[in-house]
């Protein structure tokens, strides 16, 4: 058979050309669309999502080494463009932090604000007669006990770099301020003077704190180095001065004082020593906290026996009440200024809640059936 074609090469070529032509003609009439798809998988977005301007698409793929590849894309459904796309190879234990990082990217791309999903919070939990200083993810998951005491603790405050927490403890039958390192668990006394030591507030540089001491006869505000040295008194007030809160630029502090007859919020300019009253409406305005952009502050006001969070704008002096609970207190502003974490009360137990800085979105955060208070939002993780 082979010999036949070798002896007649021209005829072999003609036959092979006929085969090719026949195949080409047959291929054109094949029902290709009925064939199973053998092309590599790809995603085609088609369709509209009412009310949604963007959509995330992602995959979680196990790898042979036990790790997992997490991929996601953020797509603009209106412009039909990709806004972000990332791939992570993580261990299963890193799922939550990866999800928070993705949430931060999505939040940032859509709002042009910094996301705070990867940040942490601190708070005080009361379990029976035991008090615990806790640190958890910003949504309340992964709670870890930092300090346990049989006496009350209050006012946890993160250092600006997130490595330490200052807080007040009554464990020695009086308020004493401690600073605890989160990495080493080591703790040092920041202020233990005669009388009460309370209300720590970190300066933005992390080197100093403002504290309230009664060592000279009245509760007054002092500056103290982060190692407990170098105490200097800031003002000489005839009344109570407390609850200092540094401006983001470190050049002024807001504080609560009853020098005018009722507790109100004042601002001290550190360079000049000038003091200016900031709240006028009502007989009880306390607990000032700067917004991160320095343009206003959150505070607690009493109105008809109820305590609520309010926001005030430095430029317009306008005040907007943000919450409607009976006993809302201890506000702590998220590093992007968009959310305020605060302590509230439900059925005789302390709970944590969050409200957006425009007052429109409110959410309760506490899952555990314990009594929690004194929330403190940690800084951005760098």
């Amino acid at each position: 058979m082979a010999r036949f074609f070798i002896a007649r090469p021209v005829m072999a070529i003609v036959i092979s050309i006929l085969f090719v032509l026949g195949g080409a003609i047959a291929a054109m009439s094949l029902p290709v669309e009925q064939y199973p798809n053998l092309a590599p998988p790809q995603i085609v977005l088609d369709g509209s999502y009412p009310g949604a301007d963007a959509v995330t698409v992602g995959s979680v793929t196990p790898r042979s080494d036990g790790r997992v590849e997490v991929r996601f894309f953020l797509l603009d459904t209106v412009k039909q463009t990709q806004l972000a796309g990332f791939s992570y190879v993580v261990t299963p234990a890193q799922f939550r932090i990866t999800a928070h990082q993705i949430a931060d990217i999505i939040y940032e791309k859509l709002t042009c604000d910094v996301g705070v999903f990867s940040t942490r919070i601190a708070y005080i939990a009361k379990q029976g007669t035991r008090y615990e200083l806790m640190v958890a993810d910003s949504d309340g998951y992964n709670p870890q006990t930092i300090v346990t005491s049989t006496e009350p603790m209050l006012t946890p405050k993160w250092s600006p770099d997130g490595s330490r927490i200052a807080y007040v403890s009554l464990e020695n039958k009086k308020p004493i301020i401690y600073v605890q390192s989160l990495a080493t668990g080591q703790r040092q006394v920041l202020a233990n003077f005669r009388g009460s030591n309370s209300a720590p507030s970190w300066a933005p540089d992390g080197n100093r704190l403002a504290v309230t001491l009664s060592r000279d006869g009245l509760s007054q505000i002092y500056l103290i180095n982060a190692d407990g040295s170098g105490v200097t008194r800031l003002m000489n007030s005839p009344g109570i001065d407390t609850e200092a809160n540094f401006a983001p630029d470190g050049k002024s502090i807001l504080f609560t004082s009853d020098r005018g007859g009722s507790p109100q919020i004042y601002r001290l300019t550190l360079g000049s020593g000038a003091v200016e009253r900031m709240t006028f409406d009502g007989s009880y305005n306390v607990s000032p906290r700067h917004l991160p952009d320095g343009k206003g502050f959150i505070f607690v006001r009493r109105d008809g026996g109820r305590f609520n969070l309010a926001i005030s704008d430095f430029a317009t002096r306008q005040v907007q009440v943000l919450t409607q609970g009976a006993d809302d207190e201890s506000p702590s502003v998220a590093p992007n200024g968009k959310l305020i974490l605060y302590a509230s009360e439900n059925g005789g137990r302390g709970i944590l809640a969050a409200v957006s800085s425009d007052g429109r979105v409110k959410q309760r955060l506490t899952a555990a059936a314990s009594d929690v208070r004194e929330p403190a939002w940690g800084p951005l993780t760098k």
Binding site: E33, Q42, L110, S138, P152, F307, R349, Q363
Partner: protein
Amino acid sequence: MNEPRSSSSTLMLCTTAALLVLLGGCQTTPKTETGVPVEERTPSTSSTTTTGSSAGGVSGSATASTTNPLKDPRSILSKRSVYFDFDRYEVKDEFKPLVEAHAKYLSGNKSARMTVQGNCDERGSREYNIALGQRRADQVKRMMALYGATDGQVETVSFGKEKPRNPGHDEGAWAENRRDDMVYAGE
């Protein structure tokens, strides 16, 4: 254009309409307990006051007694609490004889040391209440100084609203918790 779709088992597609969720997860389960049991106790504001007792009579009983007057229930010195009005730190007239008696005891016993612990009711800012309780304690110390107690004998501290004697949430509980306690060293 065709729509190739993959049903590969390793690929889990999740499409989420990324509506802005400000904070995820963490729902609060409804609390089943409706409240802390309220202890029925009447504030001992009136019982701490010995109406009409003069300071002279007090110091007399303190020196004449052979038992420790601080522990003797018949002595005014066994009373240790001063109560305050809401948001106030002035010592009310009814408690001035008590403060005076302790001041005179300190004056006559120079080795005695006392801590005045200021307390507040549960309403308002924790830190402001620390300062308010401190002011209440300072006010008692200031009055004691007028009757001869020295600065070194009296330390004033504040527990704010952190250590309520009465855990209730009504005016009766609050009145009991707006209080200075006078505690002698070694007690």
